[in-house]
């Protein structure tokens, strides 16, 4: 990991209030893996004061760039949405431990809700590549949206499924409802990133399926240091303990996370 001043190469709207930002990623740094994240400093002064964390959505070693997809929500992301090619970007990364490989013989089922899009896209592309090399089964990427208009215009890998609550596009219902009715010869192995309510529902589903004692959840928590020093970003676990999202995660076995405690 390193803190450095990168340069923005592209800022692209991908849906209403969603953007993909691409920036230089020096070859001297480790290549970010799916599930890993970076933090950026927003604004020129100390308002806002804390760096903002984002999960990588993409890395292009040939061009020496990396990218993340973000939603404009508050001051930090409003500032990000105003960046233009050539602007500098204060980056700290790569941070955190990414996703682990799926167990053999299981179907990697990737679920993305909201701002979970970026890391899931990144993972889906990687699992398609490793599937082509025979290292795992072909993954399915499931994306859930309230309405068709929220679905992003990004290149989805083959076999991706869009679910909309209003039924105007793809599967009519939530991503979790889709998982529930999914019939597959292979047992599913879940990866997910999205709102806590969605994660909790996936956890219940995983618990209900005898075959799956473990699934991989990319978690989120307010962060200060991003490197494991401040104990600020902890995620509650079902055993009553806490683990640091930034340094012990952000990817955890979803069965272990106390989703109710996190929601509170």
């Amino acid at each position: 990991m390193k803190r450095f001043d990168s340069t923005v190469t592209e800022l692209q709207p991908v849906a209403s209030d969603y953007f993909r930002i691409t920036f230089q990623w020096p070859v001297t740094l480790p290549l970010p893996q799916p599930g890993c994240f970076l933090t950026v400093s927003a604004g020129s002064g100390f308002d806002p004061a804390l760096r903002r964390p984002f999960a990588f959505s993409d890395v292009d070693p040939a061009r020496g760039t990396a990218a993340f997809i973000f939603q404009r929500r508050g001051r930090g992301t409003a500032w990000l949405a105003e960046r233009r090619p050539g602007d500098s970007l204060d980056v700290l990364g790569p941070l955190g431990a990414g996703f682990r490989a799926p167990p053999s013989g299981a179907r990697p089922v990737l679920v993305a809700g909201g701002i979970g899009l970026g890391p899931m896209l990144f993972l889906a592309r990687q699992l398609h590549q490793t599937a082509a090399a025979g290292r795992n089964e072909v993954p399915i990427l499931v994306l859930g949206y309230r309405s068709a208009s929220q679905a992003p215009s990004v290149d989805l890998p083959p076999g991706s499924v869009i679910c909309t609550d209003d039924g105007m596009r793809g599967f009519h219902g939530s991503a979790v409802a889709y998982l529930d009715q999914l019939a597959d010869a292979l047992p599913p192995y879940y990866y997910a990133c999205g709102p806590v309510a969605m994660m909790a529902a996936i956890d219940r589903l995983a618990a209900a399926r005898a075959g799956q004692a473990d699934w991989q959840a990319a978690t989120e928590q307010w962060m200060a240091c991003g490197v494991g020093a401040c104990q600020g970003c902890v995620i509650p676990f079902k055993d009553g303990g806490f683990k640091r999202c930034c340094a012990d995660g952000p990817v955890f076995n979803g069965r272990m996370v106390d989703w109710v405690g996190l929601q509170e």
Binding site: M1, K2, R3, S41, G45, F46, D47, P48, A49, L50, R51, D90, L92, Q221, W222, M223, A224, C225, G226, V227, G228, A229, C230, Q231, G232, C233, V234, I235, P236, G240, G241, F242, A247, G261, L262, E264
Partner: protein
């Protein structure tokens, strides 16, 4: 240029330290800058028993600052000694342990036990944490308690070369009075300031952002308060003052030295720009030279008031 400073008998290689709770036990920032160049590393608070810390969320973002309610999360005294200390001992910088507890006996238990181990440079007594129910802030606002706790720790200390630094809270009517109580109890130095009590409410969710309600405000927002406290305390006591609160660059550090600090700590600003600690260190010697000074402790004499 000689950057050494003396804090109650302990000589620090330079006056730049990193603040308790913002730097873990040292390893986490190792990849980002050369920690060994720091003058001192103040650990996260150590209590007799392990503490999981407070419920989440523990952080909130505020204008030019942040709130935390970590709640003294730490592995406890035993685990600190067996799991954290070995790596800390390898550090070339002085390791000062931030000590906390729920009652004077707990503070004493920590200090007594740490006196039996090698590789530590001193103790910072945290009587000013706003994030715990017992001990912490309540202790730090009572003159008699401050004096008697300091004396108790002073009396149980076997190694006088390890300074007893009392960390002061700004959440009091008169911080100078508290500093005098610490001095009277035998403190070798004081550090100021700890965080201010603050609250942010999530208007959407209609509840405080922090699970605990209130938390401690830190960062550049509180720097003017910290500088004023150091200035006030420096007029009240003769022991060295370690200044902190919102330091992020050389100019900020110099404000604290001019106000009367002999050493400084950097906390929240590390989260934004970890290497700022070394940038400050690297700026000190040239600044002293340009101002015809031969040591950091002379800076305070420049202040015209």
């Amino acid at each position: 240029m000689d950057l050494r400073v003396n804090i109650g008998g302990l000589t620090l290689a330079n006056p730049v330290g990193v603040a308790s709770g913002t730097f873990g036990y040292g390893d986490e920032y190792a990849g980002l800058f050369d920690i060994d160049r720091l003058g001192a590393l103040y650990t996260k608070a150590v209590t007799p028993e392990a503490r999981a810390g407070n419920r989440t969320p523990r952080l909130a973002d505020t204008p030019a600052g942040m709130l935390n309610s970590i709640g003294l999360a730490n592995p406890g005294l035993d685990s600190f000694i067996t799991d954290k200390l070995p790596a800390l001992r390898q550090r070339r910088c002085a390791v000062i342990v931030n000590v906390a507890g729920t009652c004077p006996e707990e503070y004493q238990a920590v200090v007594e036990r740490l006196e039996t181990v090698e590789g530590l440079a001193g103790y910072e007594i945290n009587i000013s944490c706003p994030n715990v129910k017992a001990g912490g802030l309540a202790l730090g606002t009572d003159l008699k308690l401050v004096e008697s706790l300091t004396r108790r720790l002073r009396d149980c200390r076997q190694r006088p070369e390890r300074p007893l630094i009392v960390k002061l809270s700004p959440n009091v009517t008169d911080i100078a009075e508290i500093a005098r109580a610490a001095e009277a109890g035998g403190a070798d130095a004081v550090s100021c300031i700890n965080t201010l009590v603050g609250m942010v409410i999530d208007v959407q969710k209609q509840r405080p952002v922090l699970a605990m309600g209130t938390g401690g405000l830190s960062g550049p927002a509180i720097r003017p308060v910290g500088v004023a406290c150091v200035y006030k305390v420096s007029r009240a006591v003769g022991i060295p003052i370690i200044g902190l609160g919102g330091i992020g660059c050389l100019d900020d550090a110099l404000q604290y030295f001019l106000a009367g600090a002999s050493a400084i700590q950097i906390g929240t600003a590390l989260f934004r720009r970890p290497e700022c600690a070394l940038e400050i260190l690297d700026g000190l010697a040239p600044w002293l030279e340009a101002n015809h000074l031969s040591s950091v402790t002379e800076i305070k004499r420049l202040l015209k008031v």
